[in-house]
């Protein structure tokens, strides 16, 4: 008769204890998760802190640039339209999406708020132009040139470096050494200028500027367009490859010479392993490990664009765009692009850190 209250109580107790056990298990799992992956979590936290610091620094440094946006814009309008400065000033005030009177901290919090929503910043001058749209339009062009050049120079450079490490003497070695020293001393934009002079003006083989020529093709997935793009990409890529291969070769040579002195090379030779296999799996594989970090860091740096080269070739990449926007003092867009750039650098460094342990088994700190 009185079992029902007891029954309820025991059911309740059972339920409560089940929930409690679930909580305990969850807490245990979370704790174990943190302990086990503390290595990665620590890296991610550091990356986030770095990103936050860079955001703050970017914002405040931009504001320190002297000069009045409205006044400069007004002057350019006056000159363009042939009207008086005062009339131009009024037009400038109306056109600019920028309130110079707003207190600086309000601007900062608006900026950070926008970041969390994925809105990197809008241009003060043109409606509809945001940092997101600029990055989407320009970054692929920069990456097209720089990543292709990076990969080519990396592969070429490591091959040359391994070759130089194996054959320490000989004519080829002397010539390659000379090339490495020369290409390392000449700044890359100078090389770009020389190439433009030689191959675009003196011998008109390649186009001097631009990324494609709209008078001969229409953008779209068609052959003339792709041909034009590749044709215009040749000189910039060549300039980059010529200037960067040397440093990869030098790094690889140093690393490879170290590896060649290791016992396992000789041991492998004693086992009758062929020269080609030794080059590939023993020499290159081990010598390249330190270079992978360099490669990742360089790849991350590509996202900032390279302003000088893009300026020389008038190649509309993110670097040139950023430089022009800075000149126009288009604060918000510049902030957004620089934030994106630093984000990519930090993210890629983080990924490299984590991947490195996969590539080099000696660096694994977590258990298998």
């Amino acid at each position: 008769m009185n079992e029902r209250p007891n029954g309820t109580k025991s059911a309740f107790a059972a339920a409560a204890s089940a929930v409690g056990r679930w909580f305990a298990a969850a807490a245990q799992w979370v704790g174990r998760f943190f302990v086990r992956y503390w290595f990665f979590i620590k890296k991610i936290l550091i990356a986030i802190v770095t990103l936050a610091c860079s955001t703050i620094i970017i914002f405040f440094i931009l504001r320190l640039i002297p000069g009045d946006v409205v006044r400069e814009y007004a002057l350019s309008i006056a000159q363009r339209r042939g009207i008086s400065y005062d009339a131009a000033y009024e037009i400038a005030v109306n056109l600019l999406n920028y309130d110079p009177e707003a207190p600086i901290f309000t601007q900062f919090f608006k900026y950070v708020g926008g970041l969390f929503q994925g809105n990197l910043g809008a241009s003060m001058y043109v409606d509809g132009v945001t940092a997101n749209s600029l990055i989407a339009q320009r970054l692929p062009w920069t990456l097209l040139i720089t990543s292709v050049a990076l990969i080519i120079s990396f592969l070429l450079g490591t091959a040359i470096g391994a070759f130089m490490a194996r054959k320490r003497r000989g004519v080829a070695n002397v010539l390659l050494n000379g090339y490495i020293v020369t290409s390392g001393s000449i700044p890359d934009y100078l090389l770009g200028l020389l190439l433009v002079l030689l191959f675009a003006y003196t011998l008109p083989i390649f186009p001097a500027q631009g990324n494609y020529d709209i008078s001969v093709c229409t953008p779209g997935f068609n052959l003339p367009f792709i041909g034009s793009v590749l044709y215009h990409a040749c000189l910039p890529i060549l300039a980059y490859v010529l200037s960067q291969t040397g440093s990869w070769a030098l790094m690889m040579r140093g690393s490879a010479i170290g590896v060649l002195g290791e016992d396992y090379i000789n041991a492998a030779r004693a086992r009758g392993i062929g020269n080609m296999t030794i080059n590939r799996k023993y020499l290159k594989r081990n010598a390249m490990l330190p270079l992978v970090t360099s490669f990742a860091v360089t790849f991350a740096a590509l996202f900032g664009g390279s302003t000088l080269m893009e300026s020389i070739f008038n190649y509309p990449g993110i670097g040139l765009e950023l430089a022009q926007r800075i000149g126009q003092k288009d604060y918000f867009v510049v902030q957004g692009i620089m934030f994106f750039s630093s984000f990519m650098v930090i993210a890629i460094n983080l990924i490299t850190d984590c991947i490195y342990s996969l590539i080099d088994p000696r660096i694994r700190e977590t258990n298998k």
């Binding site: 396992y264 023993y282 088994p361 000696r362």
Partner: protein, 337 residues
């Protein structure tokens, strides 16, 4: 009547004659090995004893023609007598043939196993690589079976070790892996270059018992380099004594240790600390190791030899040979004490 013409394999497995190995450096050339002639008996364990820099490793690497750069073999002959087939002039093999020769006929266990394996591949991957590089079309199961077999010999747990990376193994385990590795393609001769120098005495004993077992059960000849007289006494059948790149004495262990003809051999054996006895009563060999760039005229051991005569200092003594025994001393096989 069918004649079972079993052609007996040559009693020696390797014959080295008048080997000369030089290291041409930029300003001078070091002669690491001078006029060494010796033979390794098939199925026996031959040991080569000497101080560091006496040329042991150099001589052994010449058998595989992988002397570390920039050493070259300037003279002499190295002949290998396989169990079947014609004798092989090791120095005249083409690059392709030498690649087949290495590991299939002669394999080597290196001194410091710490870095003898490629650090970025697993143990099994490296075993498989060797098999494939020799053009052997073994299936994965066959490779695994062979690996289990050789691991079993060195008392390693295949399931645990095979998928490890080299840095995950201890020193002793790595050395055993290298020994197992050397057995992979069933060679006829294994060269062991100070295989236990970096290990403790107990592991050392363990490994040598393994080696002894391999030698007895499989009949594989061994060439052992060491500077530990005790090991020689315990495990080797024949011993050669090297000093400054010259073969001072060679013979069976019993003969050499009992007779102790050469003054250097005498000094070595006397210098071995005894398990019982006074540590302070150690009798090292006087003088300092030879400088290969600046060798004395005459017998190279003369500065340190307590039995040195004027004739010793004038010219280098010839090697006196008696059966399988040889001595490079002016006294030869005579008593001189």
């Amino acid at each position: 009547m069918v004649e079972n013409q079993i052609v007996q394999p040559h009693e020696n497995i390797v014959e080295i004659e008048h080997a000369v190995i030089d290291y041409p450096l930029r300003r001078y050339t070091i002669r690491a090995v001078t006029d060494v002639s010796l033979s390794l008996k098939r199925g026996a364990i031959t040991a080569l004893v000497g101080e560091s820099g006496s040329g042991k490793t150099t001589l052994a690497s010449s058998l595989l023609r992988c002397i570390s750069e920039p050493g070259i073999l300037s003279g002499g002959e190295v002949r290998f007598y396989p169990a079947e087939g014609a004798p092989v002039e090791v120095l005249k093999l083409s690059p392709r043939e030498i690649d087949r020769f290495r590991w299939e006929k002669v394999s080597m266990v290196f001194q410091a196993a710490q870095s003898a394996l490629n650090p970025v591949y697993t143990v099994r991957a490296q075993f498989e690589e060797t098999v494939r590089e020799h053009g052997m079309k073994w299936s994965r199961e066959r490779i695994e079976q062979k690996m289990r077999e050789v691991f079993d010999y060195v008392k390693l747990d295949y399931d645990r070790v095979a998928r490890c990376y080299p840095h995950e193994l201890s020193g002793g385990m790595k050395q055993r892996v290298m020994i197992a590795f050397s057995l992979l393609l069933d060679p006829e001769l294994i060269i062991l270059d100070e295989p236990t120098t970096a290990l403790d005495v107990i592991t050392q004993d363990y490994i040598f018992s393994i080696l002894k077992r391999i030698n007895r059960e499989k009949g594989i000849s061994m060439l052992l380099m060491t500077h530990d007289i005790g090991i020689v006494a315990k495990f080797a059948d024949y011993v050669g004594v090297l000093y400054a790149g010259r073969l001072m004495e060679f013979g069976s262990v019993f003969d050499v240790f009992r007779e102790r003809r050469h003054p250097y051999t005498k000094g070595l054996i006397r210098a071995t600390p005894s398990l019982i006895g006074d540590l302070e009563a150690l009798k090292p060999i006087g003088g300092s190791p030879p400088d290969l760039r600046n060798l004395p005229q005459g017998c190279v051991f003369s500065p340190r030899c307590p039995y040195c005569t004027d004739a010793c200092r004038e010219r280098e003594p010839d090697t006196a040979v008696q059966g399988g025994r040889c001595i490079k001393c002016i006294h030869g096989f005579e008593e001189y004490e």
